[in-house]
Symmetry: C2
Subunit: 318 residues, 2 copies
């Protein structure tokens, strides 16, 4: 079954993309979209690609994929403290499969609409399945959350649970299908921490999203800030299943090296006032360590032993 690119975009995407408004001068349907950024705002931009058999398993449920590819990009906006506004979607797929596209669009738009995000452009091409999203968000002028602001003495926090998506991937590989399972759901349907990211703006000293594994991502933050950190393993928020899995592997540090969590890792000044802190504690956040002058990431486990970590998921590891 063949059908031109133009009508695919029309049928599955343009119809739900949302029309022009105060900021979106021109949406899908011309050579470019045109955006008039509000004068008191600046824009944050990020791009991420998901490839079949690399970032997701073959024959993945398209609705979940539509959710995930957007979630992964929204997580980058969250880490910058930006509010989602617009996205472009480039889908490469082997052949037109209308049921697949309808399901993908459902997952994509359900998440997009939660944030009033508008789809402003698309390209559909034929080839091995992969999806690239370019997302744009808005930030108040002069404000942004960066990786580079952590100071010695700051507290290190993470949101949600760490390692859950890693275990979820193991379960997915084994053919688990129950979306009520917490870890499987973390892996297949991550929940980007957009609201928390906005709350952290002007409060946190640094922030990154946990996509390649806590060890790798926190190490990026430390390097950008020119500092190091100690993390206390007993404080790490992990589910009982993840703790058991790590134990089975005789590798207590396993949760630090698995990717796909899409939580935020950030630092707060240790003298943050109680009001600010209690606002943040409305979110599911946990203090896991402290920023130190000495470079590197140290994890202290129960028996007092200290491990130095810096490995995460490597997209090109064989």
């Amino acid at each position: 079954m063949s059908s031109p690119e133009f009508s695919i975009i029309e049928e599955f995407f343009a119809s739900r993309a949302g029309g022009p408004n105060e900021s979106l001068v021109l949406g899908i349907g011309d050579d470019c979209a045109v955006i008039d950024v509000p004068s008191h705002k600046q824009i944050a931009v990020s791009t991420d690609t998901l490839v079949e058999n690399v970032h997701f398993l073959a024959n993945s449920e398209p609705e979940l994929l539509g959710h995930k590819v957007l979630a992964v990009n929204l997580s980058d906006l969250a880490a910058m403290g930006a509010s989602p506004a617009w996205a472009s979607l480039a889908i490469t797929l082997p052949a037109i499969d209308k049921a697949w596209l309808a399901s993908f669009a459902k997952g994509f738009f359900e998440l997009a609409e939660r944030y009033s995000l508008q789809l402003i452009g698309g390209d559909t091409t034929r080839g091995p399945l992969s999806i690239t999203v370019n997302v744009m968000g808005l930030l108040p002028k002069q404000q942004r959350l960066m990786r580079s602001g952590a100071n010695v003495g700051d507290d290190v926090y993470v949101s949600g649970h760490i390692g859950s998506a890693g275990l979820g991937l193991e379960k997915a590989r084994q053919g688990y299908l129950n979306m009520m399972d917490a870890e499987l759901c973390s892996y297949l349907k991550p929940n980007p921490q957009v609201a928390l990211g906005r709350e952290l703006l002007n409060v946190a000293t640094s922030c990154i999203d946990v996509s390649d594994g806590l060890s790798a991502d926190l190490s990026h933050l430390l390097k950008a800030s020119g500092v190091g950190a100690s993390v206390w393993d007993e404080c790490l928020p992990v589910t009982e299943s993840v703790r058991q899995h790590a134990s089975k592997l005789s590798d207590d540090l396993w949760p630090y090296s698995t990717g796909d969590d899409y939580e935020l890792c950030f630092t707060l000044p240790s003298n943050l006032n109680a009001d600010e802190l209690s606002k943040l504690h409305k979110y599911d956040i946990t203090k896991i360590g402290v920023i130190e002058k000495e470079g590197g990431l140290r994890v202290e486990v129960k028996n007092g032993k200290i491990f130095t970590l810096n490995k995460g998921y490597d997209h090109f590891a064989s």
Copy 2:
């Protein structure tokens, strides 16, 4: 050979991406780039993907590919009359090949620097070779070239030559390597009509770039404008080689259906003043037809016979 994503971006792209300036608050290296759009400007955004064996032949020269994937996107900005400003680059490739990446980056940045375009984000992933670029340009507020403004009586123009890239593809398939060959060069190293696009802003009534074939793209413009057109085949700017190739195929209309030209097709009011027209004629442009009330695209060939065309390159045709 394996190496983490982070260092690939660092080594081949971030170093040439250009630092922050008045508008680019934050470039590559954090979760997002941050852009402060000048207050008298709006932004134009477009995305295009090139996939190996679909949009380019296997084992294509990476330097040419780096040029082409950006050129294809700049062509969309040109069609909107926008000035190139920023781009994000998502590369999926089977394995790290440093020589390939260095060559790709060379082609990409040579074209980017011609337009002072800055790379603001990137994602490198493992998988079958494909490249997605998201490009952003600047437009004066309230101004843009659209597909939808053509009026009955307007003249229809194209820039450059039509069908050259189509013949270039045939030559590339046959293993031709001489980049002095006009058609091969059109196909492998298209020259986006950015300067012409800017000149057309506030002058042309409509514009589109010719990427999927003149017949398909002009038909999009006509549909968006709610009009039709007649084109005179004897006026179509084609090289002698393209004319001969069409003749060999016994298909005089072949140049209308081949893609990849990345020229502009646009309409001008028939009463455009002489000054404006002479400014435009500094570019290589040719009048090929006229906008009519009756819908559809009609091509009048030498013997007076009229063909109705509407087919172009279909990304999903088998």
